[in-house]
């Protein structure tokens, strides 16, 4: 039952989005998010929305999955809407009941803030978690953080820790399953009672799990030393990330779209204030 949990939520595929270099994906996604907070006016927003829609279409990711990803922030969305509708003044007054005033500006603000949040979440899901395998993400991060090694930033160590964590998640899950079965067979009850009672019942699972994890860590450290591991220095890699034509093409195209949005936001005077 515990083994069904998928971590990272990667959906394998062979689309252009899947095949993009992880470094390109990470960089462009971060840029997209930054640009989202810089643009102004309905047309730039439309451009950004269409751009992401095309990416979603190309990645063949089911829209339902994206809505699923948005569900956890639903409360945040509703709350932001309320705040913006009730607290933004200006424009034509649409509704006025007691101290509550709803204006056109408030509605516009709320709409664009929500759009911005939805785009922000969707872009990270589509470009990063759904279409990039955890290993590629790790590799991409290590490579991108590489230049910071000069500033004593432990890029290699961080990537190595992520790899080992990914490697041991299924192993530790299996172990949890085994310990829980062992405790159940001796009469432990994990399913009934108050939350507090159930949390307490988990202690006899967690203690052996932690002790086991520490023992594994020690054995793994010795095994790694035996295979001449001595940190990132002088290491070569089996899988080297190489940028090819499609990576350059996608980057140039995306940057052009971003530039157009920015230019339009700052040169045209929009009748509607969106930020």
């Amino acid at each position: 039952m515990i083994r069904d949990i998928t971590l990272g939520q990667y959906f394998p595929g062979d689309t252009i989005i899947h095949r993009l270099d992880p470094r390109v994906k990470i960089t462009l996604t971060m840029l997209y998010i930054i640009i989202l907070f810089m643009i102004n006016g309905p047309i730039p927003y439309l451009i950004m929305t269409v751009f992401l829609s095309v990416a979603i279409y190309l990645s063949k990711i089911n829209l339902r999955l994206i809505f699923k990803g948005l569900r956890p922030i639903l409360i945040l969305l509703v709350f932001t809407t309320m705040l913006n509708i009730f607290y933004t003044q200006g424009g034509t007054v649409l509704l006025n009941i007691g101290f509550v005033t709803v204006t056109t500006h408030g509605i516009y603000m709320a709409f664009f803030i929500i759009l911005r949040l939805i785009l922000l979440i969707s872009v990270s899901f589509v470009m990063l978690t759904y279409t990039t395998s955890p290993i590629m993400l790790t590799d991409g991060l290590e490579s991108l953080l590489g230049p910071f090694k000069k500033l004593k930033f432990p890029a290699h160590e961080l990537a190595m820790m992520m790899t080992i964590a990914l490697r041991f998640i299924p192993t530790l899950m299996e172990e949890t399953d085994r310990i829980m079965s062992a405790q159940k067979s001796r009469g432990a009850d994990f399913e009934t009672g108050s939350i507090l009672k159930r949390a307490k019942a988990l202690i006899p699972v967690l203690i052996p799990l932690f002790i086991g994890a520490f023992r594994r860590a020690e054995e793994l450290a010795i095994a790694m030393e035996c295979r001449c591991y001595r940190g990132g220095q002088g290491r070569t890699r089996l899988r080297v990330l190489v940028l090819d034509k499609k990576d350059y093409a996608v980057t140039i195209l995306t940057l052009a779209v971003f530039a157009i949005s920015i230019v339009m936001s700052y040169t045209i005077v929009w009748g509607v204030i969106t930020r």
Partner: protein
């Protein structure tokens, strides 16, 4: 001729916090030739694993010397040369696999040695083919069986191109199928590639295939010889808390009840032939 592994009156003691120490190894002097297949036997606590850890610089001697291909393990400068020359495989395959993809894990050792790219790929593919796991190169290791995982761990060592592999009870956590796979791989490495094998085990049948059997007891070498020489000393082995291969056990019992059969027929075929010629 240079010996692959030499120990000169090796002593080792674990130090406890209070300053006391427990001596585990006593004056072990040993020479292992290149290309030899040596099985090290002994019950729990006999010091066999501790001895093995000296061949890879995981433990350094408290007294005496250990030389790997003529290099002193206590000399810090030799550390990585020795470790790449003499690989080590452990009991639990889960705890020695580092990466989330089989071929990446096999590449881990040579990557650490700084092997450049076209050669790195060659080494990984060759190592995977040697252990018969090439078709699983892009699989996730946690989905493989115990025997397959252990073969991946062995491939990870072979990819470093060592001249000697020390295996510390590599089959202890495997089912019979996995055990057979791993033993066949070990035997292939020894016979076809001439790699020196040191197999630590407490399974008598695994030791029967070796060129040489060393029996450890209480931190000392109790016996050292060919499987035939060692396994025919049935009474002594039993004293050390060890059993003998079932074939020898059968011949031993027959001999005790007055039937004149030779003791040194270890393999099933040899034993059957000996019994056949007696009862004919």
């Amino acid at each position: 001729m240079n010996h692959m592994i030499t120990t000169e009156s090796l002593r080792f003691a674990y130090k406890h916090e209070g300053g006391e120490s427990t001596q585990v190894l006593f004056d072990i002097t040993l020479n292992i030739k290149p290309g030899e297949f040596v099985a090290v036997l002994g019950h729990n606590g006999s010091g066999k694993s501790t001895l093995a850890k000296h061949f890879n610089c995981i433990l350094l001697p408290s007294g005496g010397k250990v030389y790997i291909d003529g290099m002193d393990t206590q000399d810090e400068a030799n550390l990585y040369t020795i470790r790449s020359l003499c690989g080590m495989v452990f009991q639990n395959p889960d705890n020695q696999i580092v990466a989330t993809i089989t071929e990446e894990d096999v590449a881990f050792g040579p990557e650490n040695l700084g092997v450049p790219m076209p050669e790195l790929r060659e080494r990984v593919d060759e190592a995977l083919k040697t252990v018969g796991m090439f078709e699983f190169r892009t699989h996730a290791p946690h989905l493989l069986s115990g025997g397959q995982k252990q073969r991946i761990a062995i491939a990870g060592i072979i990819a470093m191109r060592p001249r000697c592999i020390v295996l510390d009870e590599p089959t202890a956590m495997l089912d019979p199928v996995g055990r057979r796979e791993v033993l066949a791989t070990i035997s292939k490495l020894n016979k076809q590639y001439g790699i020196t094998i040191i197999l630590i085990t407490h399974h008598m049948n695994e030791a029967a295939d070796a060129d040489r059997v060393i029996v450890m007891n209480d931190g000392k070498i109790a016996m050292d010889g060919t499987p035939k020489e060692v396994f025919t000393r049935v009474d002594e082995l039993k004293e050390f808390g060890l059993s003998v291969p079932q074939t020898v056990e059968l011949l031993y019992e027959l001999q005790k009840s007055g039937i004149d059969v030779p003791l040194d027929k270890i393999s099933v075929d040899e034993c059957a032939a000996a019994l056949y010629s007696y009862f004919k």
